[in-house]
């Protein structure tokens, strides 16, 4: 079991390389400058312990975080939770909170599959999305890239890894997996917050 590390938070200025990578990942997924779109929540904040989490904060929130940091403390969470940074591609697993916010400001979906109610139910129990459940696809889907799972009501219910790209999907059989479940909002109910967050946050 890895040792528990102290949680530390850094602004983009302090971790510029990491910042560049996250910005490029966000642009690649959403096809837009997210920091500009979500203004005034435009400042990236990295908090690292066992995992590196990324937040978008306003200058007002950043001011509060700075006061905390001066007394040797860090926030448990703050602002818009962008997602978790990881060591291999895709480097950033975006949160449903971010996706909902971006799509609502953007007024359209990107890298998204809309699924039927019958497909959404098992997805919310941690299952993958099969071709038969996909009602609509919003480009672009990239093989092994991030894809958002949206219900017929337009809300984002989870994030996954696409196993196909836009063009391949039509060649799949109805029971073939299109999206591998990475995170779904049913996780909150399955008690997932306990074991996962234990490792995830100090």
């Amino acid at each position: 079991m890895p040792l528990k590390e102290a949680l530390k938070c850094f602004s983009c200025f302090e971790v510029s390389r990491l910042c560049g990578r996250v910005l490029s990942e966000l642009r690649s997924v959403f096809d837009v400058d997210v920091t500009e779109l979500l203004s005034p929540y435009s400042e990236l904040l990295f908090c690292s312990g066992l995992f590196t989490e990324v937040y978008l904060v306003s200058s007002e929130l950043l001011g509060v975080v700075d006061v905390l940091r001066r007394s040797g403390r860090v926030p448990y969470c703050v602002g818009v939770y962008v997602g978790r940074f990881r060591g291999r591609e895709p480097y950033l697993i975006p949160s449903t909170m971010l996706a909902n916010t971006v799509f609502s400001r953007l007024g359209r979906y990107v890298s998204t599959v809309v699924v039927s109610d019958d497909g959404l139910k098992p997805f919310l129990y941690g299952r993958d999305i099969l071709k038969t459940s996909v009602v609509k696809v919003y480009p672009k889907l990239r093989r092994n890239g991030i894809v958002f799972v949206v219900g017929s009501d337009g809300y984002v219910y989870g994030v996954g890894i696409s196993l196909v790209d836009d063009l391949m999907i039509k060649d799949l059989r109805s029971n073939d997996v299109v999206v591998k479940n990475v995170f779904d909002v049913g996780w909150y109910l399955r008690g997932g917050t306990k074991p996962k967050e234990k490792k995830f946050k100090v």
């Binding site: 929130l61 969470c77 602002g79």
Partner: protein, 340 residues
């Protein structure tokens, strides 16, 4: 003046239990000292019995439509109705709905819940503190004992997602749930800090916030409907310990708010020892604070000024109380303070 010694308070809070109180306590499954105190509050055994009966009736849950994510709450009501729920709108809160009957699935397991379209409150009274504090988008608000975030997310909703809310709680499990509620409800003007609330002025400095909400940890004597164990699990010493923590937190809240700023103090308890007693001590001990008027959102009862051997400031009449047998909601004590 320091907080009185525990022994002195145990003596002050202890009551001589009458035979009538013993009989009622045994009939309704309460500790007899609690029933005697209810008589001291109301001075009428019939009213006491009404109160004890009301604790048996249960509470209607309340759905707070999350206007940060749902632009038309009618749409949410329609969706929940299709799932078999019967909802009734709350007259004094346009985005809240009492749940009159449950649907085919639990309120906490619907797709609508998971998508963050609503928050479930255990009763109506928990909606009151954020509404009374009524923060503006320009405010910097502290939620001093944030718990799982029912009031934090409500504050943020009232602020339209702007401004800053700092949510503080020391409990690791509650903070984890708070975070998931923020993510689910799409609330992003919040900084969550896991720490002992009493350290806030040392960390942020005095007067850092323009408004503070302190829904203090309490014995829960107002929510016996949802937790039957509270009929017999607290004794006078627990009551004293609760008031001590409440006093310390309220003093902290007043140090944390700026001059001209407001502190809303509330407890989900009808015990005067956790309400008027605490506020009265703080009014004596903290220089430059006054009790502010509370808008008449519901037909509140006034705060009390006499209880057993204690006499409180007349200003405490401006504080308000709700009772389950009168208002059909949790028993709450709410007091709005203004720092001069």
């Amino acid at each position: 003046m320091p907080f009185p010694k525990i022994d002195e308070l145990v003596k002050l809070f202890s009551v001589d239990v009458s035979e009538r109180a013993r009989v009622l306590a045994s009939r309704y499954g309460f500790r007899d000292y609690m029933v005697e105190r209810y008589y001291m509050m109301f001075g009428d055994w019939d009213v006491v019995e009404e109160l004890l009966k009301s604790f048996d009736r249960g509470l209607n849950k309340v759905v707070r439509c999350n206007t940060l994510k749902v632009s038309n709450c009618g749409y949410l009501v329609e969706r929940l109705s299709r799932l078999g729920f019967t909802l009734r709108s709350v007259g004094w809160c346009g985005y809240a709905f009492e749940v009159l009957s449950e649907g085919f699935v639990s309120l906490g397991a619907t797709h609508e819940f998971l998508a963050g379209m609503y928050y479930v409150h255990r009763g109506l009274a928990t909606l009151l503190p954020p509404i009374i504090l009524s923060p503006k988008p320009s405010d910097r608000v502290l939620d001093l004992a944030a718990g799982v975030g029912g009031k934090t997310t409500h504050l943020s909703q009232i602020m339209g997602g702007s401004g800053v809310v700092v949510a503080v709680d020391v409990d690791r499990v509650k903070v984890r749930a708070l975070r998931s509620n923020l993510e689910r409800l799409g609330v992003y003007n919040v900084v969550v800090v896991r720490m002992d609330g009493r350290l806030v002025p040392e960390v942020f400095g005095e007067g850092f916030f323009s408004k503070v909400l302190l829904d203090a940890p309490c014995t829960g004597e107002g929510i016996i409907q949802v937790d039957r164990s509270r009929r017999f699990k607290t004794d006078v010493v627990d009551l004293v310990r609760a008031s001590q923590l409440q006093y310390e937190l309220l003093m902290t809240a007043l140090r944390s708010v700026c001059s001209g700023g407001y502190v809303l103090y509330s407890t989900c308890s009808i015990a005067p020892e956790e309400g008027e007693f605490v506020v009265d001590l703080v009014l004596n001990d903290f220089d430059g604070v006054e009790v502010a008027d509370i808008p008449k959102i519901v037909d509140f009862y006034s705060g009390i000024t006499e209880f057993g051997r204690s006499r409180f400031s007349d200003d405490l009449r401006r504080c308000v109380r709700t009772y389950p047998h009168v208002h059909g909601m949790e028993g709450f004590f709410i007091c709005l303070l203004r720092k001069l």
